[in-house]
Every structure is written in C-alpha cells, then in structure tokens.
C-alpha cells in the first residue's frame, strides 16, 4: 500500500464516525443477529444511486454531453449461523442500470439488467459478553463469483473471481452501538476488458438505541454512518474506473420481534476520481430482514 493510500486511510479514520456495512457480504441482516446456533436470516435490500455530475479529479466540470449514471440494485441476502463464532453469508444482486457515456465523441445511452455478481462470506467471530454490554471481533474472508452477465452495453457483472477480507469490531450496550469494519477486495481481470482496481473500505456506524419495549420486543436504533472507499485505477467498458470517496449519513434500524427494517442514506462529502468520471452520487438504501 503506497503512502497516498495510507494518508487517505488515516484521514478516513480521523473523521471517526460511521457507516453501515450494507455493501459487504458479511453484513446481511445485522452484525449481532442471528447470533444463536442454527439461526438464519434473510434480507431484501434496495440500493439506489444516481448522478449527472461529471468529475475530473475532485472538481466538478461542465457536462455538455449529458453524461450520467443510474444504478438500482436489489440484494437478496442470507445468513446461517452454525455456532455463534461461525456463520456463512450470501448476497445475490439483481441490477437495473443505465448510463450515458461518450463513445467515439458521441453521447450514447447504455443499459444493463439482470443477476449481478454473487458474494459468499465466511464470518468468524469472537464474542465478549459482559454484565451490561456485548462485543465481537470479526474476520470475514469473502469470494465474489462472476454470476453477472457481461454482455449488456452496461454490464452488470465483470466476469472475474474476486477475493476479499474484512476485519470488524462492534460493541453494544442497551443504549449505545458502535461498529467498525476495515475491508479489502482484490479484483481480478474480468471479461470485455473490465479490470477494476482493488478496493479498500472503512465502514463505521455509531449510534444510539433510544427506544425499546421489552414487552413487545419492539425498538429502534438511530446511527450516524461513515463510509470511506479507495478504489484503485481500473477500466470498464466505458473507460476509467476508481477513485476515492467519503460519504456520511443517517441510519434508521427498527425491529419488531424477528423483523428488522433499515433505511440509510449516504451523502458524498468528498470524492476524487481517476481521470474523468460521473460522480458516485447519493446512495439510498432500504432493507427488510427477518431472522429465525
């Protein structure tokens, strides 16, 4: 890792508050649930982002050709807990996306839809239960399969097998919740010239559990989230990919018995792209999960 990456990570750490790990294979329902032996869960989560801002480095520039991007991904996520220390997670995305790119000097609308690249994770945890708190350290190796098609003009898959790993820590009391996750993805060369750079991510959620009702097993969390990403210089079918960004936003998580509802928004507060690219845009997430 070069000096620039280290500086950027230090900057992200210094910002010091949080993000949901919604984009990661090891976070399908909640970090702490299902923590029981033989427990399993499912979540359907929709992630939407759109932007027509064109960036060159970290500067916004004129966009006379109307370059833009819109990505709508619906994730089906599952988790199975063998014992509290070992669980497997799986995520399968359905992607609907479009973009206006410049091909041979002309603006061209490109679309893609279908099953994206699935992710499988093996989550290893060490729990520490105390009198009025619980915490866990997690280590999650992950594998991303090339299940997505690369045939569309805006491919929903990249055709490569990618490996990732993350290290996480979370701590919770009746009132406070905090979660930190540092992750790394090695992206291999895919099909049709798609060759994305490796990714480093930091996710932090810090928040409170302001209301719960023991009688009805009902409550909610309010959190702040910070998401920081570094994506190495890469290529896809429309040109250069990668850059670095930091997003901030709120998270709401509500629960009732074994049902969980989650909303979060990630507002970009800093972004720098390699070359010239459409900005990442504000991300909206909504998920509904259930555990058994």
């Amino acid at each position: 890792m070069d000096r620039l990456r280290l500086r950027w990570l230090a900057f992200a750490l210094l910002l010091g508050v949080g993000v949901p790990a919604t984009g990661w294979a090891h976070q399908p329902v909640m970090d702490m649930a299902p923590r029981w032996d033989g427990g399993w869960g499912l979540q359907v989560r929709n992630e939407f982002r759109s932007s027509n801002n064109l960036l060159s480095g970290d500067s916004k520039r004129a966009n006379p050709q109307g370059r833009k991007r819109r990505v709508n991904t619906t994730w089906l996520e599952g988790v199975y807990t063998f014992v509290r220390e070992v669980r497997v997670t799986a995520k399968i995305p359905w992607v609907e996306q479009s973009r206006v790119s410049v091909v041979s000097g002309s603006a061209v609308k490109q679309t893609g839809s279908g099953l994206g690249d699935a992710i499988l994770g093996l989550q290893l945890k060490h729990y520490i239960n105390r009198e009025a708190s619980t915490a866990n350290f997690g280590l999650t190796p992950s594998l991303r399969f090339p299940t997505g098609s690369t045939s569309d003009a805006y491919p929903v898959g990249d055709g490569s097998w990618d490996v990732g790993v993350s290290a996480s820590f979370s701590h919770e009391t009746t009132f406070l919740y905090q979660f930190y996750d540092l992750s790394y993805w090695h992206n291999s060369k895919g099909k049709r010239g798609i060759d994305r750079g490796d990714e480093v991510g930091l996710d932090v959620n810090v928040g409170v559990h302001p209301y719960h009702d023991n009688r009805h097993n009902l409550g909610f969390f309010l959190m702040a989230d910070l998401s920081a990403r570094y994506e190495g210089h890469g290529e896809d079918t429309a040109g250069t990919t990668g850059g670095k960004r930091v997003s901030l936003g709120p998270i709401f998580v509500g629960y009732w018995n074994n049902l969980m509802l989650r909303f979060d928004v990630k507002f970009p507060v800093y972004q720098r792209v390699w070359g010239s690219q459409v900005a990442h845009g504000t991300e909206f997430n909504a998920g509904l999960g259930v555990v058994f």
């Binding site: 923590r35 029981w36 239960n129 009198e131 619980t134 097993n217 555990v291």
Partner: protein, 185 residues
Amino acid sequence: MKTTMVVAAALLASQVALGEELPVVVEENQTVVQVNGMVCSFCAYGAEKALSDLDCLDAADFGNGVFVDIDTQRITLALRPGEKIPFREIYKRIEKSGYDPLTFYLRAEGRLERVGEKLLLTDSKSGQLFSVAAFDSVPLAAGAVVRVQAHFDAEQVSELPEGEAVEITIGRVLSGSSMTGQKSG
C-alpha cells in the same frame, strides 16, 4: 435540596443505564436468569425462541412463558406450578443463543434437613432437591420450615450430573418457622 434531588435522580438513571445491578425479586412460580451480554431485544429473539418451548413453562404468562428484559439483562421464566426447573437445559439454551448465563434466582419452600455434611431443602411443591451452601444473611438451621428466595452461579449447572442437587445460596427468607441463628453446614 432541588439540586441534590436532580443529582440523585441523574445518578440513579446513570446506574440503570450502565446496567447497575438492581435487586432481583422472584415471583411465585418463576425463575430468573441474569445473563451477560443481553442488551438488544432483536438479538435476544433467539434466546426467547429457544426457551419458549420448554415443557415446564406456563405459556399464559408473558405470551409464551418467557420475558426478556434488556434493561436488567434478565430472563424471567413463568413456570407451571409444581414443575421442576430444568436448570441445565435452560443454561444450555441460553448459551446456544449467543449469551452467557451468570446467575439463577429461584423460590423454594420446605423443611431444611441435614444429611451428613449437607443441609438440604426439598421444595414441597415440585419435589426438587437443593443443597444449601451458604446464606446471604441470617443462617438457618436444620428443621426450619422456610419459604426462601435463593440464587446460585449458573456455571455450576453446565456440567452438573442429572439428578444432582444444585448448591444454592439463600438470599432472602420470605417466611419461616423454627429458625435459629445457628451456623449451618
């Protein structure tokens, strides 16, 4: 005075928020388990589910016989009258739910009997046998007929052979006769 009251209220609130131990009161036909780490209802759903199909429970109470209180990190189980409490099974189910049982609290009533070195209490309703290891307050002697609230370290039952008496500490004497201040075994 007003300031003192505000400070006292704040201190009390902070103690509750930090999980400061509050006195445990076990009602008739209940047992209470103090559980480490149980601070979120959604995560404790597994514990409630795992315990709710125990045969000894009175499902008419709390909807399914189990009440999880994340403020005190305690699980209260409503028992059918006269049922023996399957401590070991409860311990294992809570542990498999991702938590660590710390202390069991229970009620028992009957005559204290000395058998060899041991002071035994057989609950007159369920027939469950307990070995009295200690007293939190006034010691009782063999022959006393008592109704008590007792507790014991949950770890004790994790490897306890089936049928073996649990060693309890008598915390509160709710009622009794023929009590003496004599030190018991």
